[in-house]
Subunit: 257 residues, 2 copies
């Protein structure tokens, strides 16, 4: 029974997509059957992992709104045998409004992907930078949240809003929603700001914070322009090594549980 | 008659808030009567410019949904005589759904702020990282858009969606909406990626791209944790000098027009 993880944080540009793509690829390298769902109308996970716009058929929008079975929209074995991807396009933005009038509107995604869950060991969902109905659907569909936390001030400030939303979901449509981890991203050990945010996060979240920290590494920012996960673009880079270490840490946490 | 500029880009983390706060402060230093409107439920512009949570009375939400006159919600003379701010809090997120049922829902902000327009030379609106109803309201209320463009791949990729939305607004509720400028942000001259994105942007936008480029500068990321614009936190920094230069460039463009 695949574990579903929502990669969520309403603060923009904190590394949600970079984490979703590269953690998914690293898990696939570690022989975990992995599905990456792009739930962001920007479609960055779709282009960054290497699905060209012209190859896209059905999308997350179709699965959510038109009842398309996910297995008809999923692209299989991207770069690795164990990496499948459900792509998104900008028309997903329409779902924010179209979902409003549906009965149990926030549980639409959970119902839509229930049928494919058993084919995977882990399902990662890349969320948009907002706490609207699309992100709500991801939090209701998920077993847990993985929170990428950029080591900067506004990102830390926004955490309380995210945690408040997670609590609302736990008190409502998804009582078993957990937080599987907080991942520090774009960390620069030379900067006071980075060190300070990391200390604050560990004080606040304790062991939930991954031991592995993702450093600021230009190869991670270059990889999407080559439409490849970092494990393919530059496996020896610090960025690739860090995401591989996160994958191992996550697998160990699940084994230990 | 104040010119209204929406600082917009649905891509997260590209420097919208950093530009809104620091351009507003620089314009105030240059004796332009300036209003900064925070239209993002994250409230980063509100905290970053220095309005503590406990000092906030009425907000952008009240002006938009409850019909509160903006002059009752505006905080005057923040750090500079010519800098006023209309603050936001997380309850603004509710407006995304509440606006759906209003008649002429996308023109609500334009009507709400019409009465204060004449008191200012320039009004800057910090937009959230999405193309939903709140951002739509900002584009309809604005005379023009200022597009912060982070010098990275996903930011460049997202431009076509933003331009498509601007065209929709021009063909509908706001035919005179212009683009007053594209501002390159977090530019690092040592990186190929930065130089490449800058070249692509100038090829595409020509003179609309500001000559001034905002460098990646840690002082800009530190300033919000001290609740001050960069012009107050560290006026000698490269970040402060760059935003001052953008303010001058913008004023010159308006004078020349
Ligand atoms: N560790 C890193 N080192 C350097 N650059 C990074 C790193 N992580 C992400 N980036 C770059 O920073 C930018 C923001 O990252 P990304 O797009 O993954 O964030 P996001 O949270 O998904 O953004 P959005 O809120 O728009 O969805 C991208 O240009 C990305 O390539
Ligand atoms: N030129 C710069 N140099 C260094 N850091 C910067 C610069 N501009 C912005 N930052 C930092 O980068 C992060 C993203 O910037 P900011 O929050 O202004 O972007 P945004 O587009 O408003 O994000 P959102 O999409 O969440 O609203 C912040 O932590 C900010 O302090
Ligand atoms: Mg993203
Ligand atoms: Mg912002």
């Amino acid at each position: 029974m695949g574990r579903i993880l929502a990669i969520a944080n309403q603060k923009g540009g904190v590394g949600k997509t970079t984490t979703a793509i590269n953690l998914a690829a690293s898990l696939a390298v570690a022989e975990q059957r992995t599905l990456l769902i792009d739930a962001d109308p920007q479609g960055n996970a779709t282009s960054g992992v290497g699905i060209p716009r012209e190859d896209i058929g059905s999308t997350t929008y179709d699965v959510l709104i038109n009842g398309t079975p996910p297995e008809l929209a999923i692209h299989r074995k991207l770069h690795f045998d164990h990496l499948d991807v459900l792509p998104a396009t900008p028309d997903l933005a329409g779902a924010e409004v179209e979902l409003v009038d549906l009965p149990s509107r926030e549980a639409t995604l959970r119902a839509a992907i229930a049928g494919v869950r058993d084919r995977y060991d882990i399902i990662l969902i890349d969320c948009p930078p907002s706490l609207g109905l699309i992100t709500l659907n991801c939090l209701v569909a998920a077993d847990a949240v993985l929170i990428p936390l950029q080591c900067e001030y506004y990102a830390l400030e926004g955490l309380s809003q995210l945690l408040a939303t997670i609590r609302l979901v736990q008190n409502g449509p998804n009582p078993t929603l957990g937080v599987d981890g907080v991942l520090l991203t774009m960390y620069d050990a030379r900067l006071n700001l980075s060190r300070q945010v990391a200390t604050d996060a560990r004080d606040h979240f304790g062991d939930t914070v991954f031991r592995t920290v993702i450093p600021r590494n230009i190869r991670l920012a270059e990889a999407p322009s080559f439409a490849k996960p970092i494990a393919v673009y530059d496996a020896a880079s610090q960025g690739a090594q860090a995401y591989m270490a996160v994958a191992r840490e996550l697998i160990d946490r699940y084994r230990a549980a």
